[in-house]
Amino acid sequence: MSLLEIRSLGHRYPSSRAKRPVLNGVDMTIEEDSITAVVGESGCGKTTLGRVVAGLIEPTTGQVLFDGQNVWEMPKQQRAQYRRAVQVVHQDPFSSLNPGLRAGDSLSAGLLYHKLASRRTVKTRMLELLSSVGLDANEELLERFPHQLSGGQRQRLIIARAMSLQPRLVVADEPVSMLDVSLRVAVLDLLLAMRRQHHLAYVFVSHDFGVVRYFAAGGRILVMFFGVVVEEGATDDVIDHPRHPYTYLLREAIPVPDPRVARARRETPPAERLQAAPASRGCVFANRCPFASDECHDARPPAVEVGDNHRVRCFFPERVPQVSTVLQDRAAKVSVDHAD
C-alpha cells in the first residue's frame, strides 16, 4: 500500500472566478522512503498540491488517502497521527518562525505537546536535533530570536523542527530558493541525509530544474501546467527525454552557467512567445503549443505511456523533438575541459 495517494484531485479556491480550477484531475502516488518532485511555473498549482498533501486544504473534489484511508473522513485519533506524520518545510525561512519566540521555544513546542520529551529531557533533545542539522549544539543558540540568526541557520532550525516529530512524509516547498546560492546544496544535502536516517518520503515543490534534478536524482518528477500534470516519470527520463511540449520548452529555456552554451543557444531560433492564456477546453497547453493541431482544442488528452513508468498527457508526444544536443555536446566538452 502506498503511503499517500491522490485520486482525481480537483480544487477551486472559494473566492476564485478564474475559468480554470487551480487543480484539475491530478493523480499522484507517493511511496514510503521516496522522492517526488513537483515542478512548474508560478500559478501551475504545485504549491496548492503540496498543501493538499500536507492536509492544510480540503480539496473540492477527489480523494486524499493516507495509508489507504481518506484523510478528510478519518476519526480524530487517526487524523492526529496523520497530522504528525506529514510535516512541511516552507520557502521563507523568516516568516516560518514566530519572530516573538526564541528558537528554543519554537523548537520545543511540538516535542512537549506530543510528549516526545518531558520538561526535563527537552533541552537535551533539542541540542541533539540542532547538531543533527549541522547547527552548533549550544544553549546560547536556543536563546536567540529569529532575527538574530542567519538565513541558513533559520532554515536549518525549521528543518530540525519538522524532523522533531519523526514524520514519514515531508512536503518541502521551495526550501532553498530564498537562500544564497553557496548554501543551497548544503541544505539539500541535509534534507537528503535526513531521508537516509529516517526513511522519509519527500514531496519537493520547486520551479528550479537544476535543484530538482539534484535533489530528486533516482526519484520521480511531476511537471504541472495550470492545474494539470502534463508529464511524469523518473527524474532523468523526464529531464533528458521530455515527451511533452511544455517540458521540452522549459528545458530549452533554462539558463546555463556556461557562456559557450549560451552563445550556441542564441544561434538557434528563439523560443516561441508563450504568452497566450491557457485553453479552457481541450488540452490546457493547446494555445501555446508549437505542435498543436485541431484535435488538441477539442478534447482533454488522456495520459499515455511513453516509456518505463513515464507518462504524458498529450495526443502527439511523438512530435516533441529531442532536447537540443548542442547543449549535451557542449556539456560533455565542459567536463572534459575541467578534467585537465
Binding site: 553557496s182 520551479h207 533554462i254 528563439p270
Partner: protein, 349 residues
C-alpha cells in the same frame, strides 16, 4: 589560452572601449567611527560604453550598495567615505541635487529590485508615464511623441500598448510589470541602465523572456547595461563583462569568457559555479561552499574568503590580496592563484 578563439565573438568587448562609468577607490560605510561597517570597501572598476556588465555576488557582498552609489542614491546612515564615481567624466559624488535629478532617469536610469512593487497603485500606467514625461520636458517635443516612443518600447519588451496604457498595476502579472519597468527605464533615452536583480523573482519562461528582451534592447538601442544578480547562469547568458564581489571587495573582473572559463580564476568564483546544481546531464555533482559569508562587523584577518577557501594557506591571512590584471585586463584578487601564474600581472587599482 584555450579561450582565445571564443573571444572573437561579436559581443565580448575588451576592457579598452571608452570608459563610461569609472568607480575609483570607492568606499561606502554605514554607521559612525570605529563601529562603521564598510559595505563597499575600496572598489575600483570601469564600465565601458556598450558593455553589458554583470555585478555578481551573494547577499551582503555590497553589489546593490555599489549600484546605488552609481547614481549617488546611497541614503544615511550609509555614506560615501572615500573615492568617487564618474559618469562620462563628471563626478557624480560631488554633484548638486539639481544636476543629479536631471542626470537620473535621463542619462543614467535604474530599475530597482522587485520593480513590480514600484508602481503607484492608484494611477494607470499611462498616467505615470505622463508624469515622467512632464518632469523631463527636454527629451521629447510633446507628450504625444513621448507616448509613441513608450509604445514602441512596450513592443520591444513584447507587450501590447493596449494592455498596458489604461491599466492599473494590479491587473498585470509580476513578469509583465517587470517588463513595463524595463520599458519605463528606457523612456528618457538614457545611455546607461542599471537593473537590480531583474530576473530573480521570475520563473523559468519569464526569466528567459527578460534575458532575451534585455539582449535585443542592448543590441538595437546601443545602450550600456549594468545588472546586478546572484544567478551565475543568467550572467553567462547575458553579460559581456563581469565583476564579482565578496564581502564588500571586488575579487575578480574580466570578460564573461575569462571569468567562467579561464584557468586563472578566483577560488570563490570556481566554488560558486560548482555549487550550482545543473540541469544538464553529465555535469557531475554540486558542492556547497563550507561556512558562510563573513559578518562585515567581524571580518577575518587578511583575505576575506580564506576561511572557506580550498586553496588557502596561512599566508593568506597576512594581508588583503591586491587585484592584479593580466595583459587582457582579466583581474583576480588572490595570492595563490596570481602567484602560480607565470604571466606578468599589473595592479588593477
Amino acid at each position: 589560452m584555450s579561450t582565445a578563439t571564443d573571444k572573437q565573438s561579436a559581443n565580448s568587448s575588451a576592457p579598452h572601449t571608452a570608459p563610461l562609468i569609472e568607480v575609483d577607490h570607492l568606499t561606502v560605510a554605514f554607521g559612525e567611527g570605529t563601529r562603521a561597517v564598510r559595505a563597499v570597501d575600496d572598489v575600483t572598476l570601469t564600465v565601458g560604453r556598450g558593455d553589458l556588465y554583470a555585478l555578481v555576488g551573494e547577499s551582503g557582498c555590497g553589489k546593490s550598495t555599489l549600484a546605488y552609489s552609481l547614481l549617488n542614491l546611497v541614503t544615511p546612515p550609509g555614506r560615501i567615505t572615500q573615492g568617487r564615481v564618474s559618469f562620462a567624466g563628471r563626478d557624480v559624488t560631488r554633484m548638486g541635487r539639481r544636476q543629479l535629478e536631471s542626470l537620473r532617469g535621463a542619462e543614467l536610469s535604474m530599475v530597482f529590485q522587485a520593480a513590480m512593487n514600484a508602481f503607484n497603485p492608484v494611477l494607470t500606467i499611462g498616467r505615470q508615464v505622463e508624469h515622467i514625461l512632464a518632469a523631463h520636458p527636454g527629451v521629447f517635443a510633446d507628450q504625444a511623441e513621448g507616448r509613441a516612443y513608450f509604445e514602441h518600447l512596450l513592443q520591444m519588451v513584447q507587450l501590447s500598448p493596449g494592455e498596458v496604457w489604461d491599466t492599473y498595476e494590479s491587473r498585470l502579472s509580476g513578469g509583465m510589470k517587470q517588463r513595463v519597468a524595463i520599458a519605463l527605464s528606457l523612456l528618457l533615452k538614457p545611455s546607461v541602465v542599471v537593473l537590480d536583480e531583474p530576473t530573480t523573482a521570475l520563473d523559468v519562461l519569464n526569466q528567459r523572456l527578460v534575458i532575451d528582451i534585455l539582449r535585443s534592447l542592448y543590441e538595437s538601442l546601443g545602450i550600456t547595461i549594468i545588472f546586478i544578480t546572484h544567478d551565475l547562469a543568467v550572467v553567462a547568458e547575458l553579460a559581456t563583462r563581469v565583476g564579482v564581489m565578496y564581502a564588500g571587495r571586488l575579487v575578480e573582473t574580466g570578460t564573461v569568457d575569462e571569468v567562467f572559463l579561464d584557468r586563472r580564476r578566483h577560488p570563490y568564483v570556481e566554488a560558486l559555479v560548482s555549487a550550482i546544481p545543473s540541469v544538464l546531464s553529465g555535469q557531475g555533482v554540486a558542492h556547497a561552499i563550507p561556512g558562510q559569508v563573513p559578518d562585515l562587523r567581524n571580518l577575518p584577518p587578511g583575505c576575506r574568503f580564506a576561511p572557506r577557501c580550498p586553496l588557502a594557506r596561512s599566508s593568506c591571512s597576512d594581508g588583503e590580496p591586491p587585484l592584479l590584471a593580466d595583459r587582457q585586463g582579466h583581474a583576480v584578487a588572490c595570492f595563490v592563484v596570481n602567484e602560480d601564474h607565470d604571466q606578468d600581472l599589473v595592479v588593477s587599482q
